[in-house]
Symmetry: C2
Subunit: 342 residues, 2 copies
Amino acid sequence: MARSKVGIKDVAVAAGVSVGTVSNVVNRPEVVAAATRVRVQSVIDELGYVRDGSARQLRSGTSRTMALLVLDLANPFFVDVARGAEQAAQEAGLQLITCNSGQRVDTESAYLAMLTEQRVRGVLLSPVDTCGERLARFRRGGIPHVFVDRTVPAGEACSVAVDDVAGGELAARHLVESGHRHIAFVVGPRILAQCRDRETGVRNALAAAPAPKRRLSVLDAPALDVSSGRDAGARLLGMSPRPTAVFCANDLLALGVLQALVAADVRVPDEMAIVGYDDIEFAGAAAVPLTSVRQPAARIGHTAAELLIAETSDRDGVPHEHETVVYMPELVVRASTQVRRR
Amino acid sequence: MARSKVGIKDVAVAAGVSVGTVSNVVNRPEVVAAATRVRVQSVIDELGYVRDGSARQLRSGTSRTMALLVLDLANPFFVDVARGAEQAAQEAGLQLITCNSGQRVDTESAYLAMLTEQRVRGVLLSPVDTCGERLARFRRGGIPHVFVDRTVPAGEACSVAVDDVAGGELAARHLVESGHRHIAFVVGPRILAQCRDRETGVRNALAAAPAPKRRLSVLDAPALDVSSGRDAGARLLGMSPRPTAVFCANDLLALGVLQALVAADVRVPDEMAIVGYDDIEFAGAAAVPLTSVRQPAARIGHTAAELLIAETSDRDGVPHEHETVVYMPELVVRASTQVRRR
DNA sequence: CTCCCCGGTTAATACGTTTCAGCTGGTTCG
DNA sequence: CGAACCAGCTGAAACGTATTAACCGGGGAG
């Protein structure tokens, strides 16, 4: 079991052949004579030779793995994005590695630095902040990348996203049409474009609503997760006058708010309606099934990966045109906004 | 913006020093004179030089990244494991990449092959099947690895797991003590040791229960996910006589079963009690908050990563002792098994 | 018979880095 | 005054692979 360092050279001498031939057996079997091929292959199996990715990549200059760097893997939305991207990568014969920045800028740039050093084929990127200096440096680094769940000025890079302004409008309009006059919006860190855009959508919808004037209360949450949602829910309960409906910037926040309401015996939706965002699988299974704004998560990942693959395949001479894909969100109405049998 | 290929050599000539000096500036700044250091560094910044990971690793022979290969990233339990592992890696100055086998054997071995070629420092592994030939080949490959959420015969490798038999017992005993006579167990693919062990625990608990004899119905689910849970829930509803309690091999299944019950207007826990496994965050936020068996997910990941790091740090000459860590699960009782104000 | 081509193989080179032995000029010690 | 040393730097040798030009023996075309 001499597992120490068997290289192409060892295989070559053991098979009585040159290293070039061994390389051919591994990478282009069709060019080597059948007899030689099986002999070399059997030596490879016997010795347990595995080619060395570093040397291979150093020599060839290109990698066969791409990366997905997401904002928050604890959010099932991004897990679905990853699933879609993984499938597209697999279809193209590439490997995908997933990295999680956890909404932290420094973790994000650490990963970007590592991926740059590794010379990955490309990166699918859902960055914390589009404007930061660290991100700009990465982009100057010349590694192909596609923005995911985030748009970017046309021509700068490919991007695949959902119209978050429209999504915010969708949610707020639904609440307005359900007769709510005082609506709360629980928003995450404003550094996230998603949060800013959804807020814009909410304000648009309220401004466009027919008289009478609606009131909007905005509650800030420090992060887009369940425990921040619980906090926000507690604050919501303390408000006076209390809003009759709440829209949350994502489903994790909404689930947290819901927990706080249920714990305080506030009836949903009778006393407080709730709308979430993302329509993660758990939204429909919640204490009160959540009305939510659905995004085609897996398709976003799949499309983004396809764009990246297109960008990194050498189309000899043909220059790459950056492309921007924007999907439209869709409102899924459930019990959390439907007053039952009056 | 000539982003094409700036290597250490380009930096060297631009700064008027030798390549060795540039390498030192990057890797051991303390050995080079301050004046030279700042000059070289400024050239590096200006040219946007990034050292090449492949060449670096090829030369030095060791990698600074380790990998985590999980069974199912859609299960928040594994996301927590990843979080713990990531933290431990970061503490040791290593990078962690996460790969998702999605409970598919072929995807798993594709990732293992890639990680082997890449010569990663080590792999944290929660395999689909401990016995398969493909896994055996990987293990012969000599890449250090630690099993996660899965025990392995002592001495073969390190492993960090939770006592699943005890967990199954915990859940079943709780239901027995709540007075249930006919219990259903929704189990996932038996190829997963977790499923087998939890079933063993259930049978142990029932065998050990005082008279009268309890009845056990086992329902097979094709996968450990929510939609399989919904299917199982539908089958459960069709049973006659119908069990009065159901224990699910994980929380995703339990949430699916719960959805099916709620949709059919079956009251939980009055008509049907439910126990899940993993105590994921969403279990407490479900339609009826779920009683569940909690596992210390983040700690599992953290400990496993620490073991791997210990195994791969050269303790000059001291041979590595494989270690097995087993945590005990804990029952968290919630509304899904507590009949309310009778 | 010569020439050329062809399938199959070899030997050499380059990829970008790290490392290490050695060179330099200057300073301190005996 | 010479020897020994020092900091700071240089230059070349690997690391394991993919690639390419060259080589070789034999068979078909001319």
